[in-house]
């Protein structure tokens, strides 16, 4: 029998229901797998073995009593370490939060636990989710389970590597410009950025508040829908979460609907996208056309301005959000005595890494008197144009199909130029700018490395994403591939 740690959430849930496996055995098998591979992958910043085993025993006891158990009962999941966990250190992979123990749970954490999920650990990320490779972590570099010399992508690189390596059955990440989808593509798993407002951001440490969204990372599309079911919905503690009704997303995972109108925005196949990657996505389009969907090229003309506008807006919001790290209320405080402002400056200089400092500087500059109109306001106007491009496309198409990232995973240390690194977000950030739901799933391999495709849908139409993603997944075997670790 293949190892249980390679299975999907819905598969192990069946094993648990049929009594072929206890939650304790499942957690123990996961911990064993972690023991075997974690020293090479380094996905986690913290593991919670005792707590996880104890929770598993509670689930088993409830099952023994004949209780009806919630949908994720006993499933080991991993959390990106920018999601607050009550009583469990939450660092954002930053030295400035190295000792921060939140006094509350993020809403998504509370909801996952209410659904029975067991948190197995907190995963590595680029510091404050700023990066595309997880190399910017203040603590260590995470490696791609498909090739340990390569990055897992980022910023949710730890969460994605954990799922790909069999160290967790699913994980949560956050996505501001592609931080769930791009690493999902690099590691051959499924990653969803829900519509802005679909999932509460309460307890997600803020990076760029108008772009951030929490989403699931899983081994197949149905698991992704299961996790979204658990975390979606209005939360009075996040005023940007919307009261839009939450359907049962697994109902959209039947793969029965045909005749969807799929648009291929040509700008997403130019822009320095590797020809082999473009070819893999076009082949996926052909597969869908053969299955009965209609596929047609389209244009989103303002796409080429997306990267520049994003790298003004996201740092601007970040510079404001990160003003809270002042050495007074939590986190690091510099030991150097230098008065109030000096203490703040020294604390921030010691606590933040180079990438975070760069973004704070760019953002502060873009927001400063005399430059606001030229940069920040102009970038917001471009955001309007990008949104209109999508609105127009969705008059004709139900869903758009693009590559998730321009290339497969690159080597650790390969992209030393920060601009070159930022280019990795070029296909994913437009969905954040427009607030749209987007999913990445595996669509092939280039030189033995996974490649991902991305579907983008109308606001709050995750169901169409799940529908078309299921159709494609059922017709292919890519999602069944596991790295040889």
């Amino acid at each position: 029998m293949e190892a249980v740690t390679t299975r999907t959430v819905h598969e192990v849930r069946e094993l648990l229901d049929q009594g072929e496996l206890s939650a304790r055995e499942l957690v123990a098998a996961t911990l064993e797998r972690i023991e075997a591979v974690e020293s090479r992958v380094r996905a986690f910043l913290m593991l919670l073995p005792e707590q996880a085993l104890a929770e598993a025993e509670t689930i088993d006891a409830r099952r023994a009593k004949g209780e009806a158990l919630p949908p994720l009962a006993g499933i080991p999941i991993a959390l990106k370490d920018n999601l607050c966990t009550e009583g469990v250190r939450t660092t954002c992979a930053s030295k400035i939060l190295h000792n921060f123990v939140p006094p509350y749970d993020a809403t998504v954490v509370a909801r996952l636990q209410a659904a029975g999920a067991i948190v197995i650990g907190k995963t590595n990320l680029d510091e404050f989710a700023m990066g595309s490779s997880t190399e910017n972590s203040g603590f260590h570099v995470t490696r791609n389970p498909w090739d340990l010399e390569r990055v897992p992508g980022g910023s949710s690189g730890g969460s994605v590597a954990a799922v790909a390596a069999g160290e967790a059955f699913a994980a949560l990440g956050s996505d501001t410009g592609g931080s769930i989808r791009q690493p999902a593509a690099y590691c051959g798993v499924v990653g969803l950025k829900p519509t802005y407002g679909r999932v509460s951001r309460y307890g997600l440490v803020a990076f760029a508040s108008s772009l951030d969204q929490i989403g699931p990372i899983t081994r197949d599309v149905r698991d992704c829908a299961l996790l979204l079911n658990a975390i979606a919905g209005h939360d009075p503690r996040d005023s940007t979460s919307t009261p839009t009704p939450v359907p049962d997303f697994t109902a959209a995972c039947r793969g029965e609907i045909r005749g969807l109108r799929i648009g291929l925005p040509k700008e997403f196949f130019a822009q320095g996208v590797l020809p082999e990657v473009a070819a893999a996505v076009r082949a996926a389009a052909e597969t869908l056309a053969e299955l009965g969907d209609s596929v047609e090229e389209c244009s989103l003309p303002y796409t080429e301005y997306g990267l520049a506008a994003y790298y003004i807006l996201a740092p601007a919001e970040a510079s404001s959000n990160l003003a809270r790290y002042d050495g007074v209320r939590y986190g690091l405080r510099s030991k150097e005595l230098a008065g109030h402002i000096g203490l703040m400056e020294k604390t921030r200089d010691e606590g933040f890494g180079p990438e975070v400092k760069q973004r704070i500087m760019i953002g502060t500059y873009a927001l400063s008197a005399g430059y606001y109109d030229a940069y920040y306001r102009r970038a917001q106007q471009v955001r309007t144009l990008i949104r209109r491009d999508f609105d127009r496309a969705f008059e004709t198409f139900d869903v758009l199909l693009t590559p998730t990232a321009p290339s497969p995973a690159f080597r650790i240390g390969e992209k030393a130029d920060p601009l070159e690194m930022k280019f990795n977000d070029v296909c994913t950030l437009p969905a954040n700018m427009a607030g749209l739901p987007a999913i990445s799933l595996p669509c092939g391999f280039v030189n033995g490395l996974p490649v991902g495709l991305q579907f983008i849908a109308r606001p709050f139409d995750e169901e169409t994403l799940f529908c078309v993603a299921t159709t494609y997944e059922q017709a292919t075997e890519w999602h069944k591939q596991r790295p040889a670790l």
Partner: protein, 96 residues
């Protein structure tokens, strides 16, 4: 346009980042490289285009103004680098 090291020093002060001369140099190079790469943004005609600050249009999310429990003070102060008598302690800002 291009930023001088002095202008970058001013931004660092606004951002409350104490940077060494070498870091200032590095930041100036980085900001200037980004601004140059994003020059196309300056050339785009955006006259009459409304700015978008949020992708989902929303304003004035209201709720009843009722008393609800908040986090216990001790739990919040537990993370403070220095706390005393139920308060955060900051460096002295006035002499005397």
């Amino acid at each position: 346009m291009s930023l001088s090291r002095e202008e970058v020093r001013k931004v660092a002060l606004l951002a409350r980042l104490e940077l060494t001369d070498a870091e200032l140099e590095e930041q100036a190079r980085h900001i200037n490289a980004l601004l140059e790469a994003f020059q196309a943004l300056q050339e785009l005609n955006v006259t009459g285009i409304e700015p978008t600050s949020h992708s989902i249009p929303m304003s004035n999310v209201l709720r009843e103004d009722t008393v609800r429990p908040s986090l216990p003070r001790e739990a919040v102060l537990a993370n403070a680098p220095e706390a005393r008598d139920g308060l955060f302690v900051v460096p002295r800002i006035l002499e005397g």
